[in-house]
Symmetry: C2
Subunit: 415 residues, 2 copies
């Protein structure tokens, strides 16, 4: 592939997007259900392709094999996911607001699709199906660039989805996969201004930063989560233990898991031995600052690098702070603007934390693990934005749309 | 200046943004009124600095001298503008929505400032004051990089504004001006990820495309307007004349002025001679396709390049189309996604145009000149977005904000 091929894909995607933008909800749902049926009907083809990827990954002793593996149950889950998306409300079937201006024009702020969405992601083939379903439901075409390890799996999935689209008389180019996994082509994709309306990277911090630092196409930065729990001096300590354990160990590999524990010094002596025990019972390695080590000496020493590290693993760094202000300053200096929580029964402390923490999601007395499109009630999730432009926090279907002002007049001219 | 100086400015801007984000509306309005007072108090200093810029511009026979010129009246207008911004509602004083999720968490979608806004603009010194006022009211710090021609004027304005901020105990770094007008520093600014949350270019198409194609900081693309009027076969022709003349000649240099006129062939013979006469009476040069020239032979021939050109001048290209579908296809192929209008009394034609045209603002029976933050009732305008991400169409104070989810629990953990 070269840049010209990408431009051809972009042009075809734009043409497909024009068709998708005019579909009603029933037509989009027919397509989603046809895609789901087709996945089930072609499960053997998909598994055969996935077996090739798995063989290659095992030969290289890749650490991605679990993410890469497809099974009949995982494929059935993908199909179920598409049917669930069909059941959601059409995000383009509404106007945000409408008003008459001074000149008497009726200004309608109508939701419309973004156009062409680009996705750059790593080893999980389910992203191929998820992204295709969510972009189609929101009326967008999608150009997918998955990881090299999953290429055969993704090609099989894309073939099945495209055939399903054609079977319901929709353009196959609504869902296109880039079959060249080279960095050169990914880089060209990041500069496909005029063809891709938004680029969403999904994956590790390295991938996301590469896209953010190189792309000139508008990007939504997702995913990195160096999330903190701050246990205030007025915390209910039992609640603090339950929330900290949940946020750390319920699923440590994901971006909304907590990585850091800050404890007010007035409760550190009472709280730290208990939480250290509870976390160790779940296999968590603790790394503390000097004050934390003074209370729980068997803790490893945290280094400066720890405060900026997203472990995605059963590791947690612990810091004892002299005040809520110190906790807030530390969080704002080291967080990735994802999700932060305070545990407190003090009203003023809760309000200060909500007001001063700079992050997509700020919690009082709840686990950071709730930062999720499904938990928020969006019914879907294409990613979690850690930037401030366009979308912040969990992104569902609404975040894959933009607005168009439709303005109804009866001859108005400007004075 | 070098990159390190820019990083220092960015760091100071972030610190100032933290202060601004916590101000209430009264404190922000005190600052805006103090800035307005200071402009009036220092009018002589500002005029003296502007005289230096004007002398240099006249020596180079610059075409920018009118945009560059400051007068006591223009400085008074800037001050009035700041006081008007003070009178607007605080865009961060509201939550968009709030709901309880299944787990019982109260999720509040609170409006908050973006953080640090970067502006890159050309010769108009009033942008310095406008941008400072709008960003301050929305709780953002701003880093300004104006044109080389206006450097002395902008420096004087920034000094006055910074002193006014300090006089009301706010950080001067809330409004910073880059005093090095080199392209190298502008380019570094476009890559100041992590320090600038959004970059808004204001100016000609060349400047905007340079920023869009080079910046890795998130950009809001503004301004280019190759706007069309389509006169349908069911148009009220007198209304079509009034709207076309208004959209073309009321202020031809701005982005929401119409540049192209498309006419359904069934009304071309009746309409074209009349509108040609009306536009010529206002000094408009017409360039037509072959069908238009067949009706009004004294029209110049339009070239292929005309269809993609924003004249910003008293020039209009005219095309006769066989159908509304041809008009829509032509507009979507050549427009800059800014503002498009249909003149029709046919309901189905109006709905098709509203639905199928891809632009920020789509009008039925009104002039494209209404695409403007003030006309929309926003009370302010920082630019007109022609992109789809974050903001589309006229941008007021609300478009300088983002959201933060504030989530109130009572011990919830994720199952």
């Amino acid at each position: 592939m070269d840049k010209q091929d990408l431009i051809s894909m972009g042009t075809a995607a734009q043409q497909a997007a024009k068709v998708l933008a005019q579909l009603d909800n029933a037509a989009k749902n027919r397509a989603l259900n046809a895609m789901a049926d087709a996945l089930i009907a072609h499960v053997d083809d998909i598994l055969a392709a996935n077996a090739k990827d798995m063989t290659a990954a095992q030969a290289k002793a890749s650490k991605f094999t679990d993410r890469l593996l497809l099974t009949p149950a995982r494929i059935a889950d993908m199909a179920t996911g598409l049917r669930q998306v069909a059941g959601l409300a059409d995000p383009t079937a509404r106007a945000d607001q409408a008003w008459r201006n001074e000149a008497g024009l009726l200004i309608i702020q109508q939701r419309v699709p973004l156009g062409v969405v680009g996705m750059i992601y790593e080893a999980r083939p389910n992203v191929t199906v998820d992204a295709a379903g969510l972009t189609l439901k929101s009326g967008n075409a999608v150009i997918l660039r998955g990881g090299r390890e999953a290429l055969a799996s993704n090609q099989a999935l894309a073939r099945v989805l495209q055939a399903a689209l054609q079977a319901v008389d929709l353009p196959a180019e609504a869902v296109q996969l880039i079959s060249d996994p080279s960095h050169e082509i990914a880089n060209e994709m990041m500069h496909l201004n005029g063809y891709i309306d938004v680029l969403i990277p999904r994956g590790g911090a390295g991938l996301i930063q590469t896209v953010v630092k190189n792309a000139t196409v508008p990007v939504i930065e997702t995913g990195a989560g160096n999330c903190h729990i701050y246990v205030d001096k007025a915390a209910d300590l039992d609640m603090a233990i339950a929330i900290t354990v949940n946020a750390k160990v319920q699923r440590p590999s994901v971006c909304n898991a907590a990585e850091k524990l800050l404890i007010h010094e007035e409760v550190a002596a009472a709280f730290l031995p208990k939480i250290a025990q509870a976390l160790r019972d779940h296999g968590v390695e603790l790394r503390g600052d000097a004050k934390a080590q003074a209370i729980v000496p068997e803790m490893l020493a945290a280094t400066d690098a720890d405060w900026d590290t997203e472990y995605n693993d059963l590791i947690m760094a612990v810091k004892v702070v002299a005040s809520e202000a110190e906790a807030i300053a530390h969080i704002n200096a080291h967080n990735t603007k994802h999700s932060e929580a305070i545990i407190t029964d003090n009203y003023a402390a809760s309000q200060q934390f909500l007001r001063e923490i700079d992050a997509a999601c700020v919690y009082v007395n709840a686990s950071t693990r709730f930062t999720d499109g499904f938990e928020f009630g969006f019914g879907a999730e294409i990613g979690i934005s850690t930037q401030k432009l366009h979308a912040r926090g969990p992104m569902g279907l609404a975040q894959l749309t933009t607005i168009k002002y439709q303005i109804l007049g009866d001859g108005q001219i400007r004075a």
